[in-house]
């Protein structure tokens, strides 16, 4: 299904982020070592942060493919969390979905513009803004659940059962 993994589909080369294959004739500065160490033992391609960023990029592409473009991963996260826990203050919602107060504000704003969420002030605490799924938001959530599963599945596709479990456990530990 995701056979060629969406990269370099044929004779032409799309403008996307992808590793240049091989070491296209580039001389690695600082020669002399036989080891696969590039410089000073620090190789960017082996650093967790760099790999994490790329893994997330890959996931973002697959996610967009599965969802056909509308609904970003963060927007979906908000919908899914609201479906899980029901009405919730914007602040708490941000913590549940791992978003900064400024970030969650923008995401909710865009979802509200599409009438997928409802916003109302908490009568008991006038500081709080309570967010919940609208009827349309709930139906969108239900309709897109299959896409979300496909996105996760597609991302983990290159891994076996055991590797998937270990990866998820490690990521949860790092979190």
């Amino acid at each position: 299904m995701f056979g060629n993994r969406g990269r370099d589909a044929g004779g032409y080369r799309r403008r996307r982020v992808g590793r240049p294959e091989g070491n296209g004739g580039l001389k690695t500065a600082g020669d002399g070592d036989e080891e696969p160490v590039g410089r000073d033992g620090y190789v960017l391609d082996e650093q967790v942060g760099f790999l994490l960023r790329q893994a997330q990029q890959r996931h973002a592409v697959l996610f967009a493919e599965c969802f056909g473009g509308d609904l970003t991963p963060t927007q979906w996260a908000v919908l899914a969390k609201l479906a899980e826990i029901g009405e919730c203050s914007q602040n708490l919602l941000g913590r549940y979905t791992a978003m900064d107060v400024a970030t969650i504000k923008g995401v909710v704003q865009r979802l509200d513009a599409r009438h997928l969420v409802l916003r109302r002030h908490d009568p008991d605490d006038r500081r709080q803004l309570l967010i919940s799924l609208s009827a349309e938001g709930r139906s969108v959530y239900t309709a897109r659940l299959a896409d979300a599963r496909r996105a996760s599945e597609a991302t983990l596709a290159p891994l076996g059962e055991r590797e998937r479990a270990i990866l998820l456990r490690c990521l949860r530990t790092l979190r």
Copy 2:
């Protein structure tokens, strides 16, 4: 060293992205199941994409701590890659550092504003913009190498030797 992991240091609560502990009295909509499945078997907190995003957030915090605020992960990636491969076209540099053409442009621009990189036109191919480390950029790279190592180390700290190796291998596979 990073004992409390920078979260909720004491009596006050900083404004940061963090999981709310426990399930603070929230009723999970859709009850009846004993299983740890929240709704329809889809639990946001178990999805790769969500975990990847949070792992990267965590890394970003640790990276910023190790680097004292200046130099973002992407900026460091550019410096490190340039140190590895030497002068390079902006486009290729972007591919090596997994950045979009528009993104690498901004990063290089900011590094250039700080005189850490040099830019010159390729005389043989007037489309290309060749990027390289300036003298100052190289010394910054050398000086910060220890910080970069600490950032990677701090991120992987909660994992054992075997887990680290597996995680890195899995991430590379997903990439």
